[in-house]
């Protein structure tokens, strides 16, 4: 049966006015969907790609979750911060630039102004642009429920396409990123068919620090090339502490490519994606280290 729905399915809509109320509803054991920007959720509901929830909980009544702030060097992004506000935040641009690069690369201004960074993460598609950047920034996610809270490192958050460690009664209230040494440099490369307004066929984030011609730290995040966004840890290990040189970078890029496990789909072949991981990891590290 093929039906082109233009209307939303039926569900109850609640806009909690307090976090207490929010967690109360979440703990009610109903089938709930949490709604912030809705840029992923609403099209999925319209297309009937997911089962409609009993209750759609609109977070937008909780203004206290809309913030970007620095506390003791740590960046804190609330669940309602839009992609655009993160992309253009002065603090983010100056101190966590790679996140700004990634956020800027997401879709169009309209989506950036509606969608949230936390939503981009919780939707958990392998190609989410903010994910590789947050991975290399070692972001932590503050997760809350009715009677408790926990902190999860972002590299433990994703468990599969559209799947995270979040329980039904939990939401991510905040992304937390510790201070990055000011000498660190980062690049997010997004490969897509079109120049803008496109989905990543491959996303590569590299953040590195160098000291006396050596890699003091290096972190490589990959998007759209595995069931979840991943870190290329073996490639990182190879480089860490080593002297910066072209051959080593080439080897690391090859290893990063080995660490990826892309699929063939209508956006690109696995073969192309694997080659592009190698190409872009190499390019990013060379660019950041100015190795020709």
């Amino acid at each position: 049966m093929v039906i082109f729905y233009r209307r939303l399915p039926k569900f109850e809509y609640i806009k909690p006015e307090s976090q207490n109320m929010l967690f109360e509803i979440l703990s009610d054991n109903k089938n709930c969907s949490v709604y912030a920007g809705g840029t992923d959720l609403i099209p999925k509901l319209k297309k009937r790609l997911i089962k409609p929830p009993d209750v759609l909980i609109d977070l937008k009544g909780l203004n206290e979750l809309d913030y970007i702030k620095i506390e003791g060097g740590t960046l804190k992004i609330g669940a309602l911060s839009t992609i655009y506000s993160v992309a253009t935040s002065k603090i983010v641009i100056e101190k966590f630039n790679i996140l700004s690069q990634a956020a800027k690369s997401i879709a169009a201004f309209q989506i950036q102004n509606r969608g949230t960074i936390v939503g981009n993460i919780c939707n958990a598609v392998p190609s989410a642009d903010s994910a590789p950047a947050l991975l290399v920034l070692n972001a932590k996610l503050n997760i809350k429920k009715k009677d408790g809270s926990r902190k999860v490192n972002i590299d433990e958050f994703f468990i599969g396409p559209n799947k995270t460690v979040l329980d039904k009664d939990e939401i991510v209230t905040e992304v937390e990123i510790s201070e990055v040494p000011s000498s660190f440099k980062g690049i997010y490369y997004k490969l897509s068919t079109r120049g803008k307004m496109d989905l990543a066929t491959v996303g590569v984030a590299v953040l590195l620090g160098s000291d006396n011609g050596r890699f003091s730290d290096i972190r490589i995040g990959l998007g759209a090339v595995a069931p979840t966004p991943i870190r290329a840890k073996r490639a990182e290990e190879l480089l860490k502490g080593e002297k910066i040189n072209k051959e080593l970078i080439n080897n690391a890029a090859r290893i990063a490519s080995d660490e990826s496990s892309p699929i063939d789909d209508h956006r690109a072949s696995a073969t192309y994606r694997k080659i592009m991981v190698e190409t872009l990891v190499k390019r990013a590290i060379c660019r950041l280290t100015e190795v020709g």
């Binding site: 093929v2 307004m197 956006r267 690109a268």
Partner: protein, 766 residues
């Protein structure tokens, strides 16, 4: 305001702002989806989840019982009605009858009090299918034993054309180099912003339908046939239209028939609006085609012969396909001298969505193959791609070997302009940095304007003079967004010596406007423009008689200019046009002044069977330079510049001609490097705007349009056609530019970053 001197005119040749701009930018303009009527029902269509299957049973009982559902229909309710372009190809029912032939074909429909209820009701319809083996590749479909899509075409050949002129074998013998290549064009779609929508009302006056149509007189006839009503009981009212580009909006869709039927069943107005995914999956696409091309060339670049065998994926129904096939061959003999030409075109049924017309109709496939092959041969022979075009370019007057007659041709002028352009002259000097390589490509093409189909092809204008000197202008031509209303109004105002705001053009209402074939084949300015000119001259003639009486001079000596009227050489006697209108209207007990005109251009017959003669009234010539930057490793391609030397004859509104060229060349860029439906056994995997990659504004290059002025006697004021040429010239010039950058010839569209990256790696290995 941009102005090009194309003659002694007050308005023509000037970039008059679009007359519909205010309504469109303020939102005052109403499109079909904006219209609502009291008591209106919503129509939704249930579609097939299988590409090829027998329909065993459709159970609509549960849907009918749902509260709010007013009617449900299936194919049975249309009593065997089928439509199609020619009487012998009427093979398409509004809803599938005994079997479905493509994924997403309509099988049943519902009318309900609101859209939610209609959608819910569709879920309650149960259809039992028996899946049949499908065929999804046109070359597979031609093989013995392939699944048969239509019983009336047991070999799956929906339509074929065979054209044979001169002696190609002799031509190939005379050649120093003969090449044979296989080319392929992609599965693409128009990309209009406004999906099909309509609101239909059936009452004692017959059918009234407000429908988003580019050519409303198609649905007008289809509805008359379907519901067995005389034409004067069919009223199609044209709202503003949000883009057409041929195909879907030049045809009827299932929603049109179902909403009319539902209105008949319920007595209430019925509306439908398609979703963009529905457009992508179920509406008309451009045919994708495989072209086996063989060309013979002498050492000096002279083309001696060309032979093409084209196999097009027609999808599940015929639609306008025969004309597409005709157009793939009939002007392959342009724009280069071709003494020997043979063309075999096969349109093949498959279980894919239906292939039909689209901007650059038919020509875009074969011209792409021929242009690229010509460049490949030039390269083999060590010839310059610019020189080889200049060498073979035709010059007017000219008659091709299949008797296409050319009275004006700006191809050589255009190529010479491009040859001197810095983009071409300095193309080899560029510094090539590490990551990206650049390249410049060229193409030269022709396209027909004022296209003619079979059957009743009238194109007329009626001008009604108001007593205050303003004019109401009725035309059957539709402005689907291209700006034709502005140009047609310019013509009427020019002839009457009025300012543009004194003439009010009406959108089509088949109850009042004269019948018109439609807005396709670049025919509006050429044919509706001629009708407008003649109607204005007719009105002027009538008015001139009243004026002549006043001044006691000959009516031929009355001048209409600047909203004034005066006897020739006596401008001091001028009276306002308004005054003359009053004199005329108030004569006797009151006169009715109506100007009439209809097109009579291009009425000599052409041989549709053999491909001989003029399918168009006049021909545009377009040559194009394109510059691209290609990332050597990722294959990511950015088109930076397009220079289009465009001979539309005389640009009546240069700004509109330029914007038409910009739109067409970017659309062509999409088909060259971005757009393609990815299919899996009849299912389209990327039927959405995120994954079907149309270029956006940021992907658009700098575009420079160079007007090449020619004077064609076959069209009004010498205006031929704008922009269908540029969608034909764009893909080969882009691909030629990618070759210039990479050294690789790509023969299958679209050339995506992945294809380029993988090919560059292969090349490096060699």
């Amino acid at each position: 305001m941009e102005e090009i001197n194309i003659g002694d005119y007050s308005l023509l040749g000037k970039s008059i702002p679009r007359i519909d701009a205010y309504e469109k930018v303020t939102g005052e303009a109403k499109y079909a989806a904006d219209i609502e009527l009291p008591g209106m029902l919503w129509c939704k269509i249930l579609r097939s989840p299988l590409p090829h299957a027998k329909i065993l049973n459709i159970d609509i009982s549960r849907a009918k019982r749902l509260t709010g559902v007013k009617a449900v229909c299936t194919a049975k309710d249309f009593k065997g009605f089928r439509w199609g372009w020619m009487p012998i190809t009427r093979d398409e029912p509004p809803l599938a009858e005994d079997k479905v032939r493509f994924y997403g074909e309509g099988v049943a429909a519902v009318a309900a009090i609101d859209e939610e209820t209609a959608e819910e009701a569709l879920e309650l319809i149960k259809v039992d299918y028996e899946e049949l083996p499908g065929v999804f590749d046109p070359e597979e479909a031609l093989k013995e034993g392939a699944p048969v899509v239509h019983d009336y075409r047991p070999n799956n050949i929906s339509w074929e054309f065979h054209m044979d002129f001169g002696d190609v074998e002799k031509g190939f013998k005379e050649a120093d180099l003969v090449r044979e290549d296989r080319f392929a064009t992609g599965r693409v779609i128009t990309g209009f912003l406004e999906p099909p929508a309509a609101i239909a009302l059936w009452n004692s006056s017959g059918i009234t339908i407000w429908a988003a149509k580019q050519s409303p007189y198609f649905v007008y006839r289809h509805l008359a046939q379907c519901f067995n009503l005389p034409l004067n009981k069919i009223r199609v009212i044209q709202p503003f239209v949000g883009g057409g580009f041929g195909g879907t909006k030049n045809d009827s869709v299932a929603g049109d028939f179902c909403s009319v039927l539902f209105s008949k069943m319920t007595g209430r107005p019925v509306k439908f609006v398609y979703k963009m995914e529905e457009v992508f999956l179920t509406c008309r696409r451009r045919h994708n085609a495989i072209i086996y091309n063989k060309m013979g060339m002498k050492k000096d670049g002279t083309i001696t012969a060309m032979q093409s065998r084209l196999i097009a994926d027609g999808g599940a129904y015929t639609a306008i396909g025969p004309l597409t096939m005709y157009l793939t061959g009939c002007i392959s003999t342009l724009p280069y001298k071709l003494p020997n030409f043979k063309h075999d075109a096969y349109r093949v049924f498959t279980n894919n969505p239906v292939g039909a017309a689209m901007r650059g109709h038919g020509v875009t496939h074969t011209r792409f193959a021929a242009e690229i092959q010509m460049d490949m041969m030039a390269e083999e022979l060590g010839l310059d791609p610019m020189e080889i075009r200049l060498k073979n370019a035709i010059e007017a007057p000219y008659e091709t070997i299949n008797k296409v007659t050319i009275f004006s041709c700006g191809l050589k002028d255009g190529l010479l302009k491009l040859k001197e352009h810095p983009l071409w002259k300095e193309r080899k000097k560029e510094n090539k940095d590490k990551e990206t390589i650049s390249g410049v490509g060229i193409s030269g093409v022709a396209y027909l304007g004022g296209a003619r189909q079979r059957g009743y092809q009238s194109c007329a204008a009626v001008l009604r003079l108001c007593e205050d000197g303003t004019v109401e202008y009725l035309t059957g031509a539709t402005d689907a967004g291209q700006g034709s209303d502005t140009v047609l109004t310019q013509i009427v105002a020019e002839e009457l010596g009025l300012s543009i705001d004194h003439v009010d053009i009406q959108r089509v209402d088949t109850a009042y406007t004269p019948c018109d074939a439609g807005s396709y084949g670049s025919r509006v300015t050429a044919l509706a423009g001629e009708a407008a000119m003649k109607a204005a001259k007719d009105l002027k003639r009538q008015l001139a008689e009243y004026a002549a009486k006043e001044w006691n001079v000959s009516s031929e000596d009355i001048v209409f200019k600047n909203n004034k009227v005066y006897p020739k050489h006596m401008p001091d006697k001028a009276i306002p046009f308004r005054k003359l209108a009053q004199i005329a209207c108030y004569s006797g007990v009151g006169a009715v002044i109506i100007g009439r005109g209809y097109s009579q251009y291009g009425i000599e017959p052409y041989d549709f069977e053999k491909g001989i003669g003029n399918a168009g009234t006049a021909y545009s010539f377009t040559s194009q330079l394109t510059r691209v930057e290609v990332d050597k490793e990722t294959g990511f391609t950015k088109c930076t510049d397009m220079i289009i030397a465009h001979d539309c004859g005389k640009p009546l509104n240069p700004g509109l001609v330029e914007s038409q060229n910009q739109g067409a060349s970017v659309q062509g860029l999409g088909q060259a490097i971005y757009e393609e439906f990815v299919m899996d056994r009849g299912r389209t995997l990327n039927a959405n705007l995120a994954d079907y990659k149309m270029p956006t504004a940021v992907d658009a290059p700098n575009i420079e349009v160079i007007h090449i002025l020619t004077d064609d006697p076959k069209v009004p004021y010498g205006a031929k056609e704008a922009s269908e040429g540029a969608i034909v010239s764009s893909p080969p010039s882009v691909i030629s530019a990618i070759h210039d950058a990479t050294g690789i010839w790509f023969k299958e569209l679209p050339v995506t970053p992945e294809k380029i990256a993988l090919a560059l790696r292969e090349k490096k290995k060699e």
